[in-house]
């Protein structure tokens, strides 16, 4: 049986892992390569590393971090942040990433999704959507770390991304991100039911019940969390054990 994936996310700034609360108030949480390995050994099904600084001069630091992390990671590894061209993507793949995640650049130039998918395959292209509720059952896609509204409907944008060759959607609820109040199941379900590609729910994980809820009611294929894994709120292995006991199909033991 195809299992639900638990993805550990590392938000990286200048070569260190940080995690914000609703995109601000950053705290330092360690070395990304080391943490990626710890999560992998603890049962993460996948690692996502997002460079939230993505300032040009920091690209080299990121590539070096990706290289160090990839050397000892034998589970899928996604890297995102600041990828604007096919060449940027190629560098990240060459450093050892299996998938890249694009957000702002894809909204500015949707053809980029197709270009990367044609060269590296759709399975390697994750389109990240930062969505903010803007009414009853409607969400707007934001860019630039949640600072700039696009006026685009998140569900409609997810459908376009799929049509253009995206292999997965990484859907973050900006309203829930960092709150620990649970995933936005309504948003996740709206997107997951609209597209045929897998949807990774993100933003708001605070405990095992939230994961169970977003798989059952949000129809998510995978769920991602960062902060709960870093500060000892919850060990990934404990989370999987608890979800398994609740009947969620998982890769466990692994």
């Amino acid at each position: 049986m195809l299992t639900k994936r638990i993805i550990a996310c590392l938000d990286v700034d200048g070569g260190r892992v940080v995690k914000g609360v609703q995109f601000s108030g950053l705290r330092d949480a360690g070395d990304p390569a080391e943490l990626a390995k710890v999560h992998s050994e603890s049962g993460a099904d996948e690692i996502v590393m997002l460079d939230i600084s993505a300032a040009h001069e920091r690209r080299k630091t990121l590539l070096d971090t990706v290289r160090r992390a990839a050397r000892q990671l034998f589970i899928p590894f996604t890297v995102g942040g600041g990828i604007r061209t096919v060449d940027d993507a190629a560098e990240v793949f060459a450093a050892g990433a299996d998938k890249i995640s694009i957000n702002s650049a894809a909204l500015a130039e949707p053809g980029l999704i197709t270009q990367i998918a044609q060269r590296f395959g759709s399975q390697a292209v994750v389109v990240a959507i930062d969505a903010k509720r803007c009414g009853n059952r409607s969400w707007e896609a934001f860019t630039h770390g949640g600072r700039v509204g696009t006026g685009r409907d998140a569900v409609e944008w997810a459908l376009e991304a799929e049509r253009r060759g995206a292999g997965e959607i990484l859907l973050t609820s900006m309203d829930r991100d960092g709150t620990g109040a649970g995933f936005d199941c309504e948003l996740t379900r709206a997107v997951a039911d609209a597209v045929r590609i897998p949807v990774i729910a993100s933003g708001g994980a605070g405990g095992a019940a939230h994961f169970a809820e977003v798989f059952r009611h949000g129809h998510a294929d995978a769920a991602l969390a960062a902060s709960i894994f870093h500060y000892g709120f919850s060990k990934l292995a404990d989370l999987k054990r608890e979800l398994g006991a609740q009947g969620v199909p998982l890769r466990w033991p692994c």
Partner: protein, 196 residues
């Protein structure tokens, strides 16, 4: 030297990395001469079945077919495994190597496609490739087309019906999943291949 065949279909770095980790010397190559002289051949690949057409044009197909006749151990991964068969519904005009009988088919409409994620495999206890790998182990898949179950099948997966997760015959092996991305289990499968 083990050859990882580069025919422009996706990223081969992760396969090389896993072999490095296992202490196995390998080289990514697009040179038919180097493939012909290899002691073992791995054909990875992701993406569209049509991209395997370049194997024929470049002379790599002949080099691989010749190596197979000499019983050089061969492992096709994902698209590389699909190419061992006669063809694929994904690109009917592109013939596969055809060394194994059968055609790759689409997943049925009732399940999401691509099939992405960790799924369990039912392993044939006689398989050499899965020696030491327990049945019901989880491996990582990402694909939109699949190989039906046949007499060469040594591991089965269930997703919208059963399909071949792995095949083997003589010195030829194929895996639909990504051993280089399947944690300890995947590394075990690669290590087994390297021991033949």
């Amino acid at each position: 030297m083990m050859a990882i065949v580069d025919y422009g279909a996706g990223n081969l770095v992760s396969v090389k990395k896993a072999l490095d980790w296992l202490g196995q010397e390998s080289a990514i190559t697009a040179d038919p001469g180097q493939v012909a002289g290899a002691t073992r051949i791995i054909l990875p690949g992701v993406g569209h079945f049509a991209s395997t057409a370049s194997l024929g044009r470049s002379g790599l197909q002949n080099a691989i077919a010749d190596a197979l006749r000499r019983a050089v151990p061969f492992l096709g991964i994902c698209l590389g495994m699909q190419w061992m068969f006669e063809g694929s519904e994904e690109s009917p005009e592109t013939p596969g190597l055809g060394i194994l009988k059968g055609e790759c088919e689409k997943f049925p409409e009732r399940v999401k496609s691509p099939h992405v994620g960790w799924n369990s495999v039912e392993v044939d206890s006689c398989s050499r490739l899965f020696r030491g790998v327990p049945s019901a182990s989880f491996v990582y898949f990402t694909h939109s087309y699949r190989v039906p179950v046949s007499e060469e099948t040594v591991a089965c997966c269930e997703y919208g019906g059963r399909f071949s997760a792995a095949v083997e015959r003589d010195s030829m092996f194929g895996v639909q999943f990504h051993p280089e991305k399947s944690g300890e289990i995947g590394l075990k499968v690669l290590a087994n291949f390297c021991s033949f």
